[in-house]
């Protein structure tokens, strides 16, 4: 059975409507990609701020770390995007609304929105790496 929520809570086990992990058709995939953007963003900012405060004006290392982190995050988002397409049946462009009243319909909707968020997050991560290319000193 696919949906954890329908299980009765075991007497002492974890209760039934816990957030489902990505594999099981959950909402978490929707926030996963923007969360990766947020992590990359905060990491870049903290790295630059700490570096400028503690290490010194030349930014040669942080620039490449920021870009490398960006590449890793984009790769992870690509994986999430594949998940959204394969597991959820997400498509990028829709020509009619996903209004099917079924689990499949709901999955497709989540997959589709997740896919869009993946694209937006990739764009935002690319934006965050641009300053890394632009500035060589604090």
């Amino acid at each position: 059975m696919r949906h954890e929520s329908d299980k009765q809570p075991g007497r002492f086990g974890p209760p039934g409507d816990a957030p489902r992990v990505i594999d099981q058709g959950s909402v978490w995939i929707m926030v996963a990609a923007p969360t990766l953007w947020a992590i990359h963003f905060v990491a870049s900012y903290v790295l630059a701020a700490t570096w400028c405060a503690k290490a010194g004006p030349a930014l040669s290392e942080p620039r490449w770390i920021i870009v490398a982190m960006g590449v890793v995050c984009i790769a992870l988002i690509a994986w999430l995007g594949m998940m959204a397409v394969r597991r959820y049946g997400g498509v990028f462009v829709i020509f009619e609304e996903i209004t099917e009243s079924s689990e499949r319909g709901r999955d497709k909707f989540i997959g589709h929105v997740s896919l869009l968020l993946c694209v937006l997050s990739v764009m935002a991560i690319v934006f965050t790496t641009l300053p890394g290319f632009m500035f060589s000193t604090c």
Partner: protein, 322 residues
């Protein structure tokens, strides 16, 4: 209340109405930002008109449900793809300009310290620090690096005609590079709300030919030309003015208020708000809090006419040597 300003202001109206204008083209940094501004403005107007035209068109035309596919492409292209390219282009251009207009060195260095509600200004002279206040003079065509600090609360240093602003924050030093390109007297302001008389925290940024600037700096560095036993100086010291104000070359060495060594050489009084003349000086001493509410300097309403006259005459004599 501020009648004096009101009376003198028509005199200033002539050439000065645009002295705070970003688009005055008086500084290299301001000119770069102005370039950005015009492109942004034209772009914004075009985009606004396009979107409104699209909305009006959408509202007027006959319904055609077959257009739904096109409408969805419209969302993707108009809402997502084109804006992405536009803003990424702007972002890159903005960063290029930012990189160009910042600098951590300059032809001259000026330290400015924000106080409630005036500016302490320190030049690096050939023989050490030259301390002045509420007026900044700059040589045209040279990059001035401002090293900005604050003593009490956060202020922000802004000469709109020359370039952007920079905050002055207690506990840190910020820097701002400005390269004036037009001579003249430009307006400077505190841009960060600093309580009380924030509105009256101004200064003048006077841009001069380099040789005039050098002469000015030399004159400013010299001690005050005070005659031995000047009665005005005696009153100045008796009233305790010297506890807060300094006049180099005399006993007055108070570090709290603005340096008055060459106060009469400044264009304005009270941190860039009143014309420098004897009447305003007299009112400043007796009706201080009507002239500028909330400041630390106490008024001296009880100074009798003769003493006040001598004191004002003395202060107005604190000009540069001929």
């Amino acid at each position: 209340m501020r009648n004096a300003v009101f009376l003198i202001s028509p005199l200033l109206l002539g050439g000065c109405a645009g002295r705070h204008n970003w688009l005055a083209g008086a500084g290299a940094e301001a000119a770069r930002i102005e370039q950005l501004f015009w492109v942004l403005l034209i772009g914004a107007v075009v985009i606004w008109c396009t979107i409104i035209a699209a909305a009006v068109y959408a509202n007027r035309r006959q319904v055609d449900p077959k257009l739904e596919r096109q409408a969805r492409w419209f969302i993707i292209w108009g809402g997502a793809v084109i804006p992405t390219f536009l803003v990424s282009g702007l972002l890159i251009w903005g960063m290029v300009i930012l990189r160009d207009i910042t600098s951590d060195s300059g032809d001259i260095t000026v330290r400015v310290d924000g106080e409630r509600w005036w500016w302490r200004v320190i030049y690096d002279g050939p023989d050490g620090d030259v301390v002045t206040a509420n007026e900044i003079r700059l040589p045209v065509g040279q990059t001035a690096l401002f090293r900005l600090t604050a003593d009490d609360v956060i202020h922000s240093f802004w000469v709109p005609a020359l370039g952007g602003k920079m905050d002055m924050i207690p506990g840190r030093e910020t820097t701002l590079a400005l390269t004036p390109q037009k001579t003249g007297s430009w307006g400077g302001l505190c841009a960060e709300f600093c309580g009380g008389a924030h509105a009256l925290m101004r200064f003048d940024a006077v841009v001069m030919e380099p040789e005039d600037f050098d002469a000015w700096l030399a004159a400013e560095a010299a001690p005050a030309q005070v005659a031995e036993g000047d009665p005005g100086l005696a009153i100045f010291l008796e009233e305790g003015c010297g506890a807060c104000h300094s006049i180099r070359g005399t006993q007055a060495a108070g570090p709290v208020g603005p340096d008055l060594t060459h106060v009469a050489a400044r264009e304005r009084l009270g941190a860039g708000i009143y014309a420098m003349n004897a009447d305003n000086m007299a009112r400043w001493i007796t009706e201080t809090h009507e002239m500028k509410p909330g400041i630390d300097m106490p008024p001296y309403p009880d100074l009798d006419g003769a003493r006040l006259d001598r004191l004002v005459t003395f202060l107005m004599s604190l000009d540069h040597a001929e």
